[in-house]
Amino acid sequence: MNQTRKSAQPLLEVKGLKKYFPFKRGPFSRQVGHVRAVDGLDFTVYRGETLGIVGESGCGKSTAGQLIMQLLEPTEGEIWFEGRNLSALSKEEVRRTRRDLQIIFQDPYSSLNPRMRVADIIAEPLKVHGLHKGAELTQRVAELLHLVGLGEHHLHRHPHEFSGGQRQRIGIARALALNPKLIICDEPVSALDVSIQSQILNLLKKLQKELQLTYIFIAHGLPAVKHISDRIAVMYLGKIVELADRDSLFANPLHPYTQALLAAVPVPDPTKRKERIILQGDLPNPANPPAGCHFHTRCPHVQEICRSKPPVLQSHAEGHLVSCHFPVHEKVPD
């Protein structure tokens, strides 16, 4: 697996990506600080793979997705897609690049315009780029509907006539319309019923195989990304704390935060009792992150150095990056 990736070409490269949201207060909207939503991301996505990004609410994973989609302007850093720096492109060039980059949103109730019919929703990307016209357009829309498991009789309906799962399928059809190379799936199943979740995941897998898609799959828990991801990045407070192959991440998590996340996954076997790691406290305020390692306030193995010196994301084993002074498998001196 690792070997094949070595030969695989990078499709997307994110370098030092940062997004700070200013916040203002007082009668004159004085800027009193900024929320560091994304605070220095570096990763590469290879052609044909699925990179899972996991983290709790507020860790910046959706912001990262929107930055890559050019829906938000980065404060700092570069996004390279197929060898081109997206941040350096003109507005019109970005618009053309959108054909290769698409996004599936979390909430299928908010991602479809309630006043448009399904046919118009799916045809919009094609019309915007002037790709198909007339009968050809109708045909392409029908084809896309079939691809996501809906039928032509759904064409003239409005979004409110569909269930959450069906709406998500419509959203997927819209994202596929332009034959993109990379699709960012921003928690595409977390708003759906558990029974529907696996159907949508299977659909995404099937489409990836048929259309040679590359995914960035954002989720807030490890179980959601386990089945679809090749590699997984764990984010905490705007930074990646661990990035590894799925298997090595699950078998050998090195960061205490990843460990805690894994320990939180319920196991449907009452005889197997896992050691539970319960994190103390809340996510620190991203406007004022703790000094040193961001995780030190909640880390069960915190040491003196963690409070002052921020760790760097570095390779610990083949393709296994971790950002910790004391990766967990090395026993911490007591």
């Binding site: 829906l71 618009r95 009789h153 309906r157 959203g171």
Partner: protein, 308 residues
């Protein structure tokens, strides 16, 4: 998941060719189902008919004075005459004929100025809410400036400078009333533009104009209809106040507002002079509100299905 299992009703494919005709038929059917909608439509059609065919319908010349017949009560009261079904005013003019002719001006002023105000207000509201930043600042400060000056005062100043007249009146009323639309539409846009379908449109490469007009505008239409129907009412009444102050429609052109103010001095003795034009205004306003309510529902795809 088999999609067709979830929606068995959809197993009959709808024919593309029938769709337009089907839409119209559905519209008519839903209108008839809504009692108030039908009533509103009837009232508005009747009043429009009255305005268009005023020349044929009015029994008398609305401007013809007949001092011998002044202050005659409606025909069903003692002293009333069948020549003047709703009585006569202080100059002996037939009130029914004047109401029929007055509908022309009132409808024209009410509807046209609301359209003008709506066009300006909705457009500026969309731009202001969508683009934000300094554009928003500038537009909203202009709105504040307009709100700081009492509408009636502003209207009076312009009308006394430009001189009264039908077209000036319509323009002035349109220009003074756009602020409501701008503020409400801006507010709606601020919430709609944060919804994912707008992000999705941006992701597929839609330009700003397309996002504003195909994604945001259709979603603010219902608030626009609600404000504008109420606004037609206030505009007709505003026209009445201006006529009362002598800056509205000038005689011999008849307007309902002008008739109201004519009857003011005689309310105690000859109630019919002010009452009938007042009733006409009330009825028109009710009709427009009923129709607007129905229109708002029928334009919303979610409501349409519920009415099935």
């Amino acid at each position: 998941m088999s999609a067709s299992l979830e929606t068995p009703a959809a197993s009959v494919p709808m024919q593309q060719t029938n769709r337009r005709a089907g839409k119209l038929r559905r519209g008519v059917r839903s209108l008839l189902k809504s009692k108030t909608g039908t009533l509103g439509l009837l009232i508005i059609v009747a009043i429009t008919f009255m305005a268009v065919f005023a020349g044929q319908l009015a029994p008398q010349d609305p401007a013809k004075q007949n001092v011998a017949q002044r202050l005659k009560p409606p025909m069903w009261l003692e002293g009333g005459k069948p020549d003047f079904p709703l009585g006569t005013d202080n100059l002996g003019r037939d009130i029914l004929s004047r109401i029929i002719y007055g509908s022309q001006v009132s409808l024209l002023v009410g509807i046209c100025s609301v359209i003008i105000a709506g066009l300006i207000g909705v457009f500026l509201g969309l731009v202001s809410g969508y683009f934000g930043g300094w554009i928003d600042m500038v537009i909203m400060r202009i709105v504040d400036a307009f709100l700081a000056i009492p509408n009636i005062l502003f209207t009076l100043v312009i009308l006394s400078v430009l001189g009264p007249g039908l077209v000036t009146l319509i323009l002035v009323l349109g220009i003074t009333n756009w602020t409501n639309y701008a503020r409400i539409v801006r507010g709606e846009v601020l919430s709609i533009k944060e919804r994912d379908f707008v992000r999705a449109a941006r992701s597929v490469g839609a330009r700003d104009a397309r996002i504003i007009f195909t994604h945001i505008l259709p979603n603010v239409v219902s608030s626009f209809i609600v404000i504008s129907t109420l606004s037609v009412a206030t505009t007709i009444i505003l026209e009445a106040s201006l006529s009362f102050l002598g800056l509205g429609i000038q005689p011999p052109t008849v307007s309902w507002g002008g008739m109201l103010s004519d009857g003011r001095d005689y309310v105690a003795t000859s109630w019919w002079i002010a009452t009938f034009p007042g009733l006409a205004i009330t009825l028109t306003v009710l009709g427009i509100i009923f129709l607007g309510d129905w229109l708002r529902d029928v334009l919303d795809p979610r409501m349409k299905q519920n009415g099935k």
